[in-house]
Amino acid sequence: MTARKYLTSHQPSALKLFGIGLMLIGVGLFLLPEAHAQTLGSDDAPPEVTRYTSIFDSAVTAQPQAQATGNTPAGAPTRYTSIFDAQPAATSPETVTEAPGEAMPEESPTPAPQVTRYTSIFDGAQTGGQQPAQAATAVPQATRYTSIFDSPTQAQPAGQPTRVPSIFDSPTSGQPAGQPTRVPSIFDSAPGAQPAATTTIAPAAPIGSIFDSRPADVIRFEGQEPPDREYCLSCHANPNLVMELPSGEVISVTVNEEEYLSSVHGQHGKDGYRCIRCHTGMNEYPHPEVEAQSARELTIELSTSCQGCHADKYDEMVDDVHVALLASGNENAAVCSDCHTGHAVQRLTDETTGQPLPDIGDESAAMCATCHSEIYANYAQSVHGSAVLEGNPDAPTCADCHGVHNTQGPSTGAFRLFSPQICATCHADEQLMAKYGISTDVFDTYVADFHGTTVSIFQRTAPDQPINAPVCADCHGVHNIMATSGEGSIAIKENLVATCQRCHPGATTNFPDAWMSHYAPSLERTPLVAIATAAYTIGIPAIIGGLGLFVLSDIRRRRVERRKERQHED
């Protein structure tokens, strides 16, 4: 099934089409001539649905379409104007030149379409000055945000002497080698083949590094073979290895080899990835001094190294709320390793299909719980959470509603307004709902009701506006969502009054019956509504048909008379 873009009612009837047709005539008659022209124009336009960018649209589809139709609503671009928009443009030359590199050919695909994907409407240069105002703002943004998420290679263009060398700079970065755009990486294979020397202990004299505070014991890798894991673990397997940071925090720098080897990185190839693949710059001892002031800073710094191989995930995160928070200076915002861990990274998606593995629901929820423990506690008790924790692969885990890597901030008007579609992904799926005996009528009945109609209209007319019409979660709850049967459920009338009163403070005990509880009108449940609906469903065609018949008879009569008059004149 396809996820519905907008809340729509599935009750098309001849009457409705008839009504729309007549309304068209009515509009033409009553409104200005321009209105008529516009109406006709919109028939030729692509389906309305594509025009409005939903928060659920991936950036890929939303942007090009908005551009193609030229109908981008004035407010819409701001939604996708992420601070990271400008970045991939800067990234592309880097990644492209890196692609033919010999060191890790299998890991850096960075396909060309991704480059074009984000250089669409917000890049002033490409659009040929179509939006000069935006282009002007885009340039400073590019420079401003090339901080923490840039891989070290791109953060330091060739001609910036003022920059303090970072620990993540590869040691050879000072060399003005033949590759001006790209700082040589430790992953580069050697230009001159030398015997695969393991490690050599250098002479006592200090060599080069600005970090050498102690002249003795500098160990460098004079050959081209980078240190392997075994080499690093010869120290870091020590269970009591700690490091004190300037903040006073003491962190463990012990690596659990067993844990690493069971991780997806540890299982790569014959022997797993080398440590320095992520811990770039750590290819000498004593290690370069850590610049991070606190454990959190260190975590954030280290997570930037993920981009080297997982650039596609970084691209996905362009619109992610965590990324935006981090960029705004909130150090608590999650970075890669907060969810995926540093050394125990596990595979979460199917290697061939890229789809999430079916049995990771509880693990993935636990990841989010690291920072969102209170929400997790609510969720774990809910009908969804308890099912996930019992291993039910159908029930939604955090990511099913919030997304991964493109997590949206749930406090925006747009998120609220479009949240029914999140529920619809499962609750409009007849096959899935049949398994649990849940009706999929909930959306049609919601849209048919005043609340849902309001929401569906706002989705298309003011997609960013925070509105107070209730969405699913207002009545059913969010993370603490309960089944609609059983104690404490909203379906019990006393509870329903309380639910209504949250928005309708004056509501009395009769009031909840004004809500038809997601049931279509029926003689058993709502006889008045059923009779009224039936009366007009039958009455309108009958009465209008009768009137029309009379009109037709009059038309016939007038034609007969005109013919007679003509004969009379002849």
């Binding site: 009457l15 729309i20 509009v27 919109s42 269970p239 720098v253 608590n332 969102h372 929400i375």
Partner: protein, 381 residues
């Protein structure tokens, strides 16, 4: 004869015409702003809603239209009363059996089953039908509209189900009214023949003859109006009574417009929870050796093997220190003597670890055990 057909007959005074156009304005406004909500899924509806400045505006406009229509209805009741009670007009607007027969006969005439078109008076059955449809529709729409406008007040008296039922009726009746106007009114007054009487007030003789032959006859035989000395009194009485009634009704309308605030205007938070509530980080674990350190053979050697020889081993003795065997350990590193028997103060192992300037650490107990071992002469066995 020619002058006769060109003659115009006065049909609607200005007040009637103004009333009609007020009605047209409010009806059109209501139909437009209402049907876009009824057919909310339609692209045209969305276009109109956008053109009117959004759904909130549409709903405000709808209520303004409704208020105008209600005020117009109150005025119309007064007009009817005045015409009947003060002017003593005959109630020729009422539907009679004659009208039903006229309708049937007209239909039969249209189909050619009857030779003559029935002769009708001032108001034809077509006009009467439309008039009463509007009277009926307006009452239905005002009642159901009130319930929808004030659902909390309504359900304090009526069962809750009346609200969705009112919505079904309001929406069905709206569609019926609009379609009736388009099919019936538009055809008879604009398409069949463009009737200008609602613009100019006059209808020409040809149209009069065709549509209102009985009225034409009456108009052509004018009768002297009888003197009516009682009229000023009736007028006074009526205006007093109606004035009071109308004032009350208008006051009620004014009150009801702002009577109920159905819903709060803020957005209530769905859940109150700390979004960022991180689990406490795992404390750094220093693994204790936790065994007696009596001699190199009994404890110390193994402590070094599991804690120190990662870096101070045979393969890569950092600082030249090799702690894999007793002799090498006693030999010490390049900078400091590692172990000076009996003298922990001069033993690099102890001072370095105590200084905190060493990446690997031992628990205080292990360090104390090591110190005791050195104090005891660092015995091999």
């Amino acid at each position: 004869m020619k002058t006769e057909t060109q003659r115009k007959y006065f049909r609607f005074p200005l007040a009637y015409r103004i009333e009609h156009w007020v009605m047209v304005a409010s009806f059109t406004t209501l139909a437009l702003t209402g049907l876009v909500q009824k057919f909310a899924q339609s692209d045209i509806s969305i276009w109109i809603i956008n053109a009117l400045g959004g759904l909130t505006n549409v709903r405000i406009i709808h209520r303004i239209g409704a208020t105008v229509l209600i005020l117009e209805a109150i005025y119309h009741v007064g007009l009817l009363g005045y015409n009947l009670f003060v002017r003593r007009y005959s109630p020729d607007l009422l539907l009679t059996r004659e009208d039903l027969r006229n309708a049937l006969h007209t239909f039969q005439y249209n189909l050619g089953w009857r030779k003559e078109r029935p002769k009708q008076g001032r108001y034809t059955f077509e006009e009467k039908f439309e008039y009463f449809a509007i009277i009926w529709g307006t009452i239905v729409m005002i009642v159901t509209g009130f319930i929808l406008w004030n659902p909390i007040a309504a359900t304090s008296v009526l069962p809750g189900e009346f609200v969705p039922a009112a919505k079904a009726v309001h929406s069905g009746e709206a569609l019926l009214a609009v379609l009736a106007i388009i099919v019936w009114h538009m055809y008879h007054v604009h398409i069949r023949k463009f009737n200008k009487s609602m613009f100019t007030g006059y209808l020409d003789a040809e149209d009069m003859l065709e549509e209102h032959p009985l009225e034409l006859e009456a108009l052509n035989q004018p009768v002297e109006p009888e003197p009516d000395p009682d009229r000023p009194r009736r007028r006074r009485v009526f205006l007093t009574v109606y004035g009071i009634v109308a004032a009350v009704l208008v006051a009620v309308v004014a009150y009801l417009i702002t009577f109920e605030q159905t819903a709060i205007e803020t957005i209530e938070p769905i859940e109150t929870v700390n979004v960022f509530a991180p689990l406490p980080p795992e404390p750094v674990q220093i693994v204790s050796f936790d065994r007696p350190l009596n001699s190199w053979e009994d404890g110390v050697g193994e402590l070094f093997a599991t804690r120190c020889t990662f870096c101070h081993g045979a393969r890569m003795p950092l600082s030249g220190l090799n702690l894999t065997n007793y002799d090498a350990a006693i030999l010490g590193g390049t900078n400091l003597p590692a172990i000076t028997p009996n003298d922990p103060e001069n033993s690099g192992i102890i001072t370095k670890l105590r200084s905190g300037d060493h990446p690997a650490v031992l628990t205080d107990e292990d360090l104390a055990g090591l110190e005791a071992w050195i104090k005891a002469g660092a015995p091999r066995e």
